[in-house]
Structures are given as structure tokens and as C-alpha cells.
Symmetry: C2
Subunit: 242 residues, 2 copies
């Protein structure tokens, strides 16, 4: 694999992340009518913005914390805390993103959880919740035995990437269905690719490229934090009573 | 990671693959009206069946060829040929799957390539074509220099998984949009989850689980074929003239 340094990669990924959030905000503001927190369709518009910001961009950044070469030296604890804090912030945004769509549905009398998009999306959120909780209990609190940490770590690492696969599928199907809802009865339907359809399709492709870059960075052997000993696993947030 | 042997894993994956194809055939036959090759909606019905069979199940099996422990001993050439042949068969099915939907669109006057599903799906097929061609030129024909094979191999391996991520997103968005198309004007719309919606949503979840299992098997370090020397890379289908 060609040698790529982490800094230029981070800059490209950062720009892509900003574009993903920026495109979603612009779509929601310019075409979908802007934001409110009142159960109207303007409340729904928080859903894509909060999900793309939390479940895609912040989640992706959180997953990559241990790929920062700075994190390879000295204590792992501050990086563990950063990893957990970023993921927790993402989780808060995701919960708000769910509230936005459920409140909108409930106020408008639209059923919840029927589409494949919603099944995928909720699966992603549930897996993410388990992932965060299990990570916290296993790697930050002091009570998990070493054998359990050694067993669980590769599972945590695999689900870090797997959840992102669900996020890609949920984002793509969400954008796709929103465009069908929106552009069915308009003079220029989705099939005639009006400006909004072009714009949101490009957003979908940006989300895909951002996610593939994160998955690539996570899979690169030379970017993985070298585990020189098991001390890393033995450094919890709290110390167990002696 | 808990010890799992490859044989029981293969059986579970095989059953899941059969379920994915079986569910798609049943949906197309029972609810979508069956099959024809005449430009009608019955021609469209080949599209999901050929895509799930080729781009998901056969592709997934092809990707896992080198995880079969039997492939780790002796010459790599028969396994390379099997890998290429399975992927090529998948490619033929995928091309037929594209013909099915384009012919249907053209005959019915429906525009092509406007939805995000189609952008994602075509990206997956184009990447798959490049992947197959580059793999054939690099690892089966004798002319690629060793330094190029060493450089290209991790790229080929990464895109093997990345293309599957695109396939998941394309499948989920495809099933989701087909259900909206189908169940918009029916007495029990998609939002009331009639039997067809349940069935196709479950198909989407089966596709997701099948893909995650393939990605998991590809990522497992202990299931990777040990590369004891560079002889593997030097064993092409044809011998270059001395």
C-alpha cells in the first residue's frame, strides 16, 4: 500500500466531514424549509443533520483516535477518555436525532419504524449503545478481568467498523427515500434530477467516501497503535480497591 | 476473539446466502408478479434476483476463497483460478441484472440513473469491474512486476471489502425504494407494514447479516492465508517468455 502520512489524510477526512455536515445543513435549510423543534416537518429536518454529524462524522473521528501517532506514546488513558467522550457526544446527538423524527411522526400521525431505513438505522443506534456501554465497562472501569478485555477487544474493534457499514446503508436509504417523498408530486420529479436531487445524491456519495476512508484508516496495519504490553489494558479510569 | 472454526461458519454463511437468494426469488415471484425477459415489470424482477445472487452471495463466496484452510497448502494457482472464476460468474450475473433494469426502464420510458440507489449500485459494479480486471492482470497474467503486485495486493484486499459495503447500501436502498414504489397506492401502504413489507424488510436484514459475516471473516487475522514467501505472487496463469 502506498505510504500515506496521517496528517494529510486527516485534513482530507476533515474537509470531507465538514462537507457532509455542510451539505446536510444546506439541504435541510434551503430545500426542506429550515429548523424548528415543534413536531412539524421543520423538526424532522434536525434528523438528517444530527445523524450525519453524530452517527457519521463524530463517530468516525472517535473511531480514529488511536490512529493519531501522538496517541502511541505515553499513557493511553487520556486517549481512552477522548475516545469515550467523542463517542458519547456522538451518542447524545444521535438520541436527539431520533427524538426529532419520532416527535415529528407522532405529531403528524405517521407510523414509526416501518421502513427498512428505520430498521437499519435503529439497529445501528442499538449496536452503538451496546458498543459504548461495553467499552466503558471493559476498558475504563477497573472491574473487568484481563482475560475478558483480551477477548472483547477484537469484538469492539470489529463492531467499530461494522456499525459504520450500517450507518452508510441507513444514510443512503434515508436520503433516497426522502428524495422520493419530496419529489413525487413536484413539476420536476426525482427522475428528472432537479437541483435538489443532484445535491442530495452528491451528499450521499460524500457520505460513502467519508465512510470508506474511515474504514480504510481503521484497517491499515501500519496505522494501528502498537500494543507493546498488556499495561494498556490494565489502565482503567478508576482503580479497583486493593 | 472466541475461536470459531471455518466449517461451521461456512455452513451458517451458506444457509444465510441461500435464504437471501430464496427470499429475493420468493418476493419477485409471489408479490412482484414473476419473471420474463420482455421489457415489462416482470423483466425488472430479474434485477434484484441477479444482483443478490451475483453481487452479494457469489461475490462474498469468491472473496472468502483464501480463507478455506485447504487453500493454505500447496500451489495457490488452483485457488486463484477459483477466486477469479467465481468473481467472473458473479460479474456475468451482475451485467444481466443491469440489462434487466435498463431494458425495463427504456421500454417503459422511465429515466435511468437518477436515484442515489442507482448511483451507488453502478459505482459498486464499476469498482467490481476494475477490481476483477486489475486482479486478473496483476495476479494471473505473468507480466506484472513483483513490486507492483506487492503494492497492489493490499489495495485489492481493501477494495474487496469496500465493494461489499457499497453492495449493502445499494441493496438496502433498492429494497426500500421498491417497497415505496409498490406500496404507495395500495390499501395497506408500506407504513402499515403489510406481509410483503415485513418479508422484504427481513430480506434486507438478512443481506446485512450475510455481508457483516463476510466482512468479519475477511478481517479475522487468524483466518488469513499465511504468506510464507513471495512465491505465491510469482505463480501466474501463463509463464512469461524467458
Amino acid at each position: 500500500m502506498p505510504t500515506v502520512s496521517f496528517l494529510p489524510f486527516s485534513i482530507v477526512l476533515g474537509v470531507l466531514g465538514i462537507l457532509c455536515v455542510g451539505f446536510t445543513v444546506y439541504w435541510s435549510h434551503h430545500w426542506l424549509g429550515g429548523f424548528a423543534w415543534d413536531g412539524s416537518s421543520h423538526m424532522f429536518n434536525w434528523h438528517p443533520v444530527l445523524m450525519v454529524t453524530g452517527m457519521l462524522v463524530l463517530y468516525g473521528i472517535a473511531a480514529l483516535v488511536y490512529r493519531v501517532p501522538l496517541s502511541w506514546e505515553g499513557s493511553k488513558l487520556p486517549w481512552k477518555l477522548l475516545h469515550a467522550a467523542l463517542a458519547f457526544t456522538a451518542f447524545i446527538l444521535v438520541v436527539l436525532g431520533l427524538v426529532a423524527v419520532f416527535e415529528f411522526h407522532n405529531k403528524q400521525g405517521i407510523p414509526n419504524m416501518y421502513s427498512l431505513h428505520s430498521w437499519l438505522g435503529l439497529s445501528a443506534v442499538l449496536l452503538f449503545s451496546c458498543q459504548w456501554l461495553m467499552g466503558f465497562l471493559s476498558f475504563l472501569l477497573p472491574w473487568a478481568p484481563i482475560w475478558f478485555k483480551v477477548l472483547y477487544k477484537p469484538i469492539h474493534v470489529f463492531f467499530g467498523s461494522a456499525i459504520l457499514v450500517l450507518v452508510v446503508a441507513a444514510s443512503i436509504s434515508g436520503i433516497n427515500e426522502k428524495l422520493y417523498f419530496r419529489l413525487t408530486k413536484t413539476p420536476t420529479p426525482y427522475s428528472m434530477l432537479p437541483a435538489e436531487a443532484w445535491f442530495a445524491n452528491v451528499l450521499g456519495m460524500l457520505i460513502l467516501i467519508f465512510s470508506l476512508l474511515v474504514l480504510w484508516a481503521l484497517a491499515r496495519p501500519s496505522w494501528k497503535r502498537p500494543e507493546v504490553n498488556t499495561e494498556d489494558l490494565q489502565e482503567p479510569l478508576l482503580q479497583a480497591p486493593k
